[in-house]
Amino acid sequence: MAVLLLAEVNDGELALDATAKAVTAATALGDVTVLATGATCADAAAEAAKIDGVAKVLCAEDTIYGKRLAEPVADLIVSLAGDYEHIVAPATTDAKNVMPRVAALLDVMMMSDVTAVVDGSTFERPIYAGNAMQTVKSSDAKKVITFRGATFDAAGTGGSAAVESIGAAADPSLSSWVEDKVAASDRPELTSAGVVVSGGRGVGSEDDFKIIEALADKLNAAVGASRAAVDSGYAPNDWQVGQTGKVVAPDLYVAVGISGAIQHLAGMKDSKIIVAINKDEEAPIFQVADFGLVADLFDAVPDLTSKL
């Protein structure tokens, strides 16, 4: 049985952690061929070839794949699909954009955010924001899957798979890239960080989010935010942790001024240690926190930052 895995490549660079976690999930299904795409992808392909468990890497280098628009990437995957029973990817926004399109073109159902592989047709995935876990068995000849990174450990690197260049598929010319607004940051990436410090509505303003960022920097942590904080404009959308944002499972998650709505808990409850700081002792976040501190965050967070 063969698996085609769409690597996460951004502007020619492999997102190693996201890709390696999906490789771990995919090796349970068969020999893994990684597909790297981009305007340039030789470096990304070479890096993917080192991930343990990867049998082969395909490198499709063409300007039409430069910004990973859904239509050309989906057409490319479909053109390669004949050889594979499973077509998989890490559950990133890029893959969530592309993979359902692939599934529909192949006339198969999609399985998104899979958290466990039971067998080659049977998979576990969260529904209702993780309030229930459902095991489903696919009757389709091909299975199209995204794997939720937070529940798989990244495969190691030490392998040396062969890299093969492949040509581009036809350009459907349906869409074009205009611009990316990506905030440059020296902090770790949210979904792969060992420590995450998140702020909620209780932080109160964009300016006051600096105390969250200071604590994060002290802990070498990524910064997250609740939906309420993002909706209020205190934090950018790519910081959102939750059902509709990012799902994280760091070793340490510090929730500051976050009440703990179901949709936020869905994004962080698999963290190893959860710390909650909130002045409302009834806040639901305390029901999942290993260590809860009922305190005013404006006193406690700077104090904590200085004492760590």
Binding site: N10, K67, A70, T93, D94, N97, P100, R101, A103, A104, D107, V108, M109, M110, S112, D113, R125, P126, I127, Y128, A129, G130, N131, A132, M133, Q134, T135, V136, K137, S138, S139, L174, S175, W177, V178, D180, V182, A183, V195, D231, P236, N237, D238, Q243, T244, L252, I262, Q263, I273, F286, A289, D290, F291, L293, V294, A295, A300, L304, K307, L308
Partner: protein
């Protein structure tokens, strides 16, 4: 230009979800149901396009059980012009898969010839995040997912998308499928006069067979369980104590 907005009837987002004792799914009997929150944002956007003179007609479509007519009435009360209900299931526990919904929507799109389909990015019940992309694929159209800004200008639309690294703006050819994210707009509440008016707006009733679609599922549900609960932790009295506990746990 016509705009089609698919809307789904789901468990209300404030309701605590409970699994059925036999593991066959989530208990939906006698539970408050509402329009999927992302679909509300899509309806709102479609109405704003009409108010801005960029759309002539807004058609809400729902695929599911007969009770989804309540969801369609909500869309009509918000300002949609008419509705199409595709009755594809009798039991409220029978969730219609995104692939089937996309095929049925393709049938609707072929008939209605809209310039734009506005979908919620995912339904908060199955969390699959697939229907819009699948419809776009079946139509051979462009797609723009996770939209936080949408500007339609003649033959193309400029869409800002919420992606992992921040925001991405793309231009897509019309007709297109756009799936909407949370920050595109804030949906309006339907006023009482509009709720009354909505009762008189037209609602067609169809079946999957009308569109030549076989609604049988591809995924068999093996079981549904509640996730293991996290053990309750402890309350800490001070920042100093917290620092000590974190050090003990090897977390810092």
């Amino acid at each position: 230009m016509k705009v089609i907005v698919p809307v789904k009837r789901v468990i209300d987002y404030n309701v605590k979800v409970r699994g059925k004792a036999d593991g066959s799914g989530v208990d939906l009997a006698n539970v408050k149901m509402s329009m999927n929150p992302f679909d509300e944002i899509a309806v709102e956007q479609a109405i704003r396009l009409k108010e801005a003179g960029k759309a002539d007609e807004v058609i809400a479509v729902s695929v599911g059980v007969k009770q989804a007519q309540e969801t369609l009435r909500t869309a009509l009360a918000m300002g949609a012009d008419r509705a199409i209900l595709v009755v594809a299931a009798e039991d409220v526990h029978n969730d219609i898969e995104p692939l089937t919904v996309a095929k049925i929507l393709k049938g609707v799109v072929d008939e209605e010839q809209p310039g734009l389909v506005l979908c919620g990015k995912q339904a908060i019940d199955n969390d699959m995040n697939a229907t819009g992309q699948m419809l776009s694929a079946l139509m051979g159209w462009s797609q723009a997912t996770f939209a936080s800004d949408l500007d339609i200008d003649g033959d193309s639309a400029t869409v800002t998308r919420e992606v992992d690294g921040g925001l991405q703006t793309i231009k897509v050819n019309m007709p297109t499928v756009v799936t909407v994210d949370l920050r595109l707009n804030e949906p309006r509440y339907a006023s009482l006069p509009n709720i009354m008016k909505a009762k008189k707006k037209p609602m067609d009733e169809k079946t999957p067979a009308d569109y030549g679609v076989d609604a049988s599922p591809r995924l068999e549900i093996v079981n549904t369980v509640e996730p293991a609960a996290r053990a309750a932790g402890i309350k800490i009295g001070s920042v100093d104590e917290l620092v000590e506990k974190l050090k003990e746990a090897g977390a810092v």
